[in-house]
């Protein structure tokens, strides 16, 4: 790895993302957890930016930090989870086995990723700069990927209908 400014910034974003993720799952207060998740989204967005995907980076902030997490906070506030004890439970054998299985999954993913990628990609693809712009993303979306793009609208429609069916007050 070359220690130039760009790599250092990318690395610090990655470390920030990791740190905030760990903080997020260890906090007791749900609001604090949610805030760390927002920090995490920002650092991931920074990583995207360093990888020249401006569009994905800004969408990450716009959609996740700007819309979804606001709803999260909104719900947490409405529920008013004051009892901080609820967030912490005692360790049972289930939890321990879940932790062990999770670590195993993480280890297998990590080892595979390490051997698959280590030392392979030292330079950035020259096309990365063009690929990340909104113009090229939009063009691909509306030409090559137009079919699945339209399909996604069906998924969203079904989800909206479903949400109304399950949650509307005076449905009957």
């Amino acid at each position: 790895m070359i220690w130039n400014a760009e790599n250092i910034i990318t690395l610090s974003f990655a470390i920030l993302a990791l740190g905030s993720a760990i903080m997020m799952i260890t906090r007791r207060n749900p609001i604090t957890s949610a805030l760390y998740l927002i920090v995490n989204f920002f650092s991931i967005s920074g990583v995207y930016l360093m990888l020249r995907s401006q569009f994905v980076a800004i969408i990450q902030i716009l959609v996740y930090a700007g819309a979804i997490m606001v709803l999260f906070l909104f719900v947490i506030m409405l529920l008013n989870l004051s009892g901080e004890k609820k967030m912490m439970e005692t360790f049972s054998y289930k939890k321990i086995s879940a932790i062990i299985l999770g670590l195993m999954l993480f280890a297998s993913l990590g080892i595979t990723a390490f051997f698959a990628f280590f030392g392979k990609y030292k330079t950035m693809n020259p096309n990365a700069e063009i690929m990340g712009t909104i113009q090229s993303v939009g063009k691909e979306l509306y030409t090559t990927y137009s079919f699945p793009f339209e399909l996604v609208s069906f998924v969203l429609l079904a989800a909206i209908v479903g949400a109304i069916v399950l949650a509307q007050k005076k449905f009957e």
């Binding site: 595979t112 137009s146 079919f147 399909l151 069906f154 998924v155 079904a158 479903g162 069916v165 399950l166």
Partner: protein
């Protein structure tokens, strides 16, 4: 770019996708006071759309195209799958009308969600790209989550929906991560492009395949990830359970066929054999001690997923045919059995359904017609000739023997003998026991009867003369 040829070759898809949208609009035509009218209109409209789609699917049987920018395949396999799925939903729609009225959940949204889920399932089968598989699977699953919780006033229904949703959303992550790994290695999500790449045995690539396979194991309800099935199937509205357990599984297995053949997963027979055997073992053994008929059939559906999994030991033209034949018979007998269950549902005071085996005691005396139909479905599920279920099992185990996995076939046959016990137990309850108290039928419905009779005719015809199906399957390479 998309052109008119693409549309001409995907008429069933377009009909069903459009029908889902139209159904939503039909709901708004009549004012709220005339809700019954609009529901009836929607009901007939859905049936007509499905029949039209089936007709066009028969026309697609001889085609072999890759359309929509290589995102969708149309060939014999996909057309057969489409016909199977469409028939399954046809039976479901037919049996739903009076059930929904009786449960007071007769809303137009039910049919539109059903159509959307059907659209998703057809996409899964016809997908030529992992993105389409994912989108189709999501469309299907989201509709299923909502349909499972459609009885909003009932705790069991809500429990079913939330359990299904949480686990389903979690496993979707596996699917997506797997697709991402496959994309990372091959540089494409498209089946055609991936086949051209000739992927080598790379750890990263294999990890992706494993994760996708895990997601499919969940969706088909096979062994390590089967624990959601009984709870979800028990709580959901009975006709929806019938649909999820038959049509939903068929769609998942249909997508799995393409996945196995495209990625040439012939080299993991031991994994598949283990999954299949443990699934059959778990389903059959646990079903022995069930006292709730819905749970019993839920466990039996796990066992059936195991039988179908045997066909994936080595994917070749014969085993694909065997799996498809099994799916045809399975869809008929499983949804048929649930239609009967929905009609026999015994209500307790607070209008919760009990569905105990006790309520089937003496049903043969009070209601011989229903009992006869149920007996046929259970015989077929148990794999007793002359019904289609027998040939399904026969071909599946034959395909295992053909690729020298005799021991898997033997284990499977032995376990299906175990299964005969609990099917026969229900039949004995119906015909050889005296009625306990008053056995009341929840509702009478000509539509549901018609649906059940259609299934029985299918099971009988395909059982006596399996060539009716097999001749369509010959073209599958």
């Amino acid at each position: 770019m998309i052109n008119s040829l693409d549309f001409a070759n995907s008429i069933p898809l377009l009909i069903i996708g459009g029908a889902g949208l139209v159904v939503m609009l039909l709901e708004t035509i009549f004012p709220k006071s005339q809700k019954g009218t609009s529901e009836t209109l929607i009901f007939y409209f859905s049936l007509a759309a499905i029949v039209a789609a089936i007709t066009f699917s028969f026309g697609d049987l001889t085609k072999n195209f890759i359309i929509y920018n290589k995102f969708i395949r149309v060939n014999t396999l996909t057309s057969v799958l489409n016909i199977v799925l469409l028939t399954g939903i046809f039976i479901t729609v037919l049996s739903s009308k009076n059930y929904l009225q009786q449960e007071k959940i007769n809303h137009g949204e039910y049919y539109s969600l059903l159509m959307f889920s059907l659209f998703g399932m057809m996409l899964m089968g016809q997908a030529n790209d992992l993105i389409v598989v994912f989108v189709g699977l999501e469309l299907m699953s989201i509709c299923f989550y909502v349909l499972a919780g459609f009885m909003r006033r009932k705790v069991e229904s809500n429990e079913s929906a939330i359990k299904y949703f949480l686990l389903g959303a979690f496993l979707t992550g596996f699917l997506l991560l797997g697709i991402a790994f496959i994309y990372g290695y091959t540089g494409s999500t498209n089946y055609t492009a991936i086949t051209d790449v000739h992927p080598q045995k790379d750890t990263f690539y294999l990890l992706g395949l494993t994760l996708v396979f895990i997601a499919f194991i969940f969706k088909t309800g096979s062994f390590p990830l089967q624990m959601w099935i009984p709870d979800v199937y028990q709580g959901a509205p009975t006709v929806v359970t019938g649909m999820m357990s038959s049509v939903g599984k068929t769609a998942a297995f249909g997508a799995l066929i393409s996945f196995f053949s495209i990625f040439a997963l012939n080299n993991i027979p031991m994994v598949v054999a283990m999954v299949a055997i443990l699934t059959m073992l778990y389903g059959n053994v646990v079903a022995l001690v069930q006292s709730n008929i819905k749970r019993l059939l839920a466990y039996s559906s796990i066992a059936h997923a195991g039988y179908i999994m045997v066909g994936f030991l080595s994917i070749n033209s014969f085993s694909i045919r065997a799996v498809l034949f099994y799916l045809v018979s399975y869809i008929l007998m499983q949804s048929g059995a649930f239609i009967i269950i929905s009609m026999v549902e015994e209500k307790t005071g607070d209008n919760t359904s009990k569905n105990t085996l006790e309520s089937y005691k003496g049903l043969g005396k009070t209601n011989p017609m229903l009992s006869l139909l149920m007996t046929i479905f259970l015989f077929s599920l148990a794999g007793i000739p002359p019904f289609a279920g027998f040939w399904g099992k026969y071909y599946i185990f034959l395909s295992a023997i053909q690729v020298n996995y005799l021991w898997v076939a033997i284990i499977g046959i032995l376990l299906s003998l175990v299964g005969v016990y609990y099917y026969i137990k229900v039949i004995l309850y119906m015909w050889f026991y005296e009625p306990v108290g008053e056995t009341t039928i929840a509702y009478r419905s000509d539509f549901s009867y018609t649906a059940a009779v259609i299934s029985v005719i299918g099971l009988f015809a395909f059982g006596v003369y399996p060539d009716l199906i097999l001749r369509y399957l010959r073209n599958i390479i």
